[in-house]
């Protein structure tokens, strides 16, 4: 995408090739992804609250703007105008860096998401590993905030979160291995290209058990209910976010939702055929709209889980991760490898 834009600029303005223009086109492409993403995050929060309200037969936000659509922007403005409070016992630099790290990591992972054929900022050969790496780095924002806050609630929340994220990454890793065996490449574009065709060619059908494990692990990885123990308000007030206010809190909040959207997009790419239309007749709709629709579907499911599943106890969470998902996903890796060989479906 960067290359194409760069070449277009060079030709359109008839200027010489230069490193500066290349740099500018990289920055421009990043803005093209990040700005819509931030707006999408604002609406995702609204969407989340509306779904939650609908399940509980309430109305949800309906005051600011038509249907309450501007509620998130009003909340953002409010947060922006609040005072940033730094606890006197806190480690100031790390305290302020933690939300920035969470937010940045949630954004940079989007660099490898392909919105269409060849429409990714970085078409990395190891795209899936990159997403996995960035989501595993996300734990630092939480640990650092917990430690730097110098508060027991925050520290306990951070400890829980770190243990939880490290545990569920293992099963996510095995889930990815299963899909990659069928694709034969770590490139996210190749994963989508392998699912070319209609809805029946999507990986959701052959890989359904894996999809279930991935979905549940995603909830744990993004600290969503029923696994939102790091911020369990009943026992830890708000976990690692206890001491944060104003923009620092807003960065955590945005980062969290950007991460959820990212995992929804990854789910759409791995299991729902990425940018492909479900039936051939709908091919005239551009691919990125399909990807957005599938991402929205993933987000809707994650949101529904929040609405009707009660929170897990911490030991149950750990048991589910290590004693249920890990053995099952390990078995599935072996089973799918065997099936792929038996049916001669291994990619060359």
């Amino acid at each position: 995408m960067v290359e194409a834009f760069y070449n277009w600029i060079i030709q359109f303005f008839e200027i010489e090739q230069s490193a500066f223009i290349y740099f500018v086109s990289i920055v421009a492409m990043i803005l093209v992804i990040v700005l819509p993403l931030l707006i999408a995050v604002a609406f995702a929060v609204y969407f989340d609250r509306k779904i939650w309200a609908a399940v509980q037969m309430r109305r949800g936000p309906n005051v600011v703007g038509p249907f309450g659509l501007l509620q998130s922007f009003a909340d953002g403005l409010k947060l922006f105008l609040k005072e940033t409070i730094i606890p006197s016992g806190a480690n100031k630099v790390i305290f302020l860096m933690a939300p920035m790290i969470t937010f940045t990591l949630a954004l940079i992972a989007w660099a490898v998401i392909p919105f269409g054929e060849g429409m990714a900022i970085a078409n990395l050969n190891v795209g899936i590993l990159y997403v996995l790496a960035m989501s595993s780095l996300g734990v630092y924002g939480i640990i650092m905030s917990g430690w730097a806050s110098n508060s027991r609630y925050a520290f306990l929340g951070a400890m829980r979160s770190a243990a939880q994220m490290v545990s569920y990454e293992v099963s996510i890793g095995f889930v990815l291995v299963c899909v990659l065996m069928a694709v034969g490449s770590l490139n996210l574009s190749d994963v989508v290209l392998a699912q070319e065709g209609g809805i029946l060619d999507w990986y959701i059908w052959p890989f359904f058990p894996i999809y279930v494990i991935f979905f549940i692990s995603t909830l744990a990885e993004t600290n969503r209910p029923p696994f939102d123990l790091p911020e369990a308000e009943a026992e830890l007030v708000a976990g690692y976010q206890v001491e944060y206010s104003s923009m620092a809190f807003a960065l955590f909040f945005l980062g969290e939702y950007a991460n959820i959207l990212l995992m929804s997009a990854v789910m759409a790419i791995l299991f729902f055929g990425g940018w492909y239309a479900p039936i051939e007749a709908l091919d005239f709709i551009p691919g990125w709209i399909w990807l957005l629709a599938k991402t929205a579907f993933g987000f809707w499911m994650i949101s529904m889980v929040k609405a009707f599943v009660p929170r897990y106890r911490y030991d149950q969470l750990m048991r589910l991760g290590w004693k249920v998902f890990l053995p099952i996903s390990l078995f599935l890796v072996v089973a799918y490898a065997g099936l792929l060989i038996a049916f001669d479906k291994l990619p060359s």
């Binding site: 010489e16 230069s18 490193a19 190891v126 590993l129 595993s136 430690w147």
Partner: protein, 213 residues
């Protein structure tokens, strides 16, 4: 002119790696040290990407930054460290530390020299590693580890497994009187197992029925 961008990236990553490395040992707070170490790992991953070894870069981040350094951070944060005490003896170790550093420097220089002037290095390198542009390095590594040297790799894996089991056996202690949950048993429990309705005559009392569940 675009070729200047990788050069800028290289000098940036290299400078950050070295600076973070120095700060790891000079930071006064151990938690800061670990955070600098993480930055050093991260920039080293950037250098790997510039070399065209993107698979190694991602492994460095996932394994070292995502898992090993988290454990470091855990341990350092949990320990109750007295910073004053820690700093007191630091200079006593300076001669020994300097000696180790000197040995390392000599070894690194020798290694670099061998890389440049060794008689067989060029041919050995060529025989093992195909050109980066020909093969994705994920595939190349996979072929070397899982096809060419599978038995050696499996052997190393077995040794690690034995070491792990050994560590668990050595530190294992059986505690008595631990009440464990059996989830299957809990789920299999029905209301009829858990309670019973009993008619109690006034002034007679009742013997509790025996627990079934």
């Amino acid at each position: 002119m675009i070729e200047i961008l990788p050069a800028i990236a290289f000098y940036m990553f290299a400078a950050v790696t070295v600076a973070a490395g120095v700060l790891v040992i000079s930071a006064k707070n151990p938690v800061h040290s670990v955070l600098w170490l993480i930055l050093a790992f991260f920039s080293a991953a950037g250098l790997f990407v510039l070399l065209g070894a993107e698979f190694l870069a991602m492994l460095l981040i996932i394994v070292y930054v995502g898992a090993v350094a988290v454990l470091f951070l855990f341990v350092v944060m949990m320990l109750n460290i007295n910073y004053e005490e820690l700093r007191e003896g630091a200079f006593a170790y300076l001669p020994l530390g300097g000696l180790v550093a000197a040995v390392l420097v000599v070894e690194m220089v020798t290694l670099g020299a061998a890389w440049q002037f060794g008689p067989d290095v060029a041919s050995n390198l060529a025989s093992v590693a195909p050109a980066i542009s020909d093969v994705e390095n994920t595939k190349a590594l996979g072929r070397v580890i899982y096809t060419d040297y599978i038995f050696i790799f499996q052997g190393a894996g077995m040794i690690l497994l034995v070491a792990m089991i050994g560590a668990i056996v050595l530190t294992h202690r059986t505690r008595t009187g631990v009440k464990r949950q059996n989830v299957v048993k809990q789920n299999a429990r029905r209301p009829e197992d858990a309670y019973a309705l009993v008619d109690v005559e006034i002034g007679k009392g009742v013997t509790m029925p025996k627990k079934k569940g």
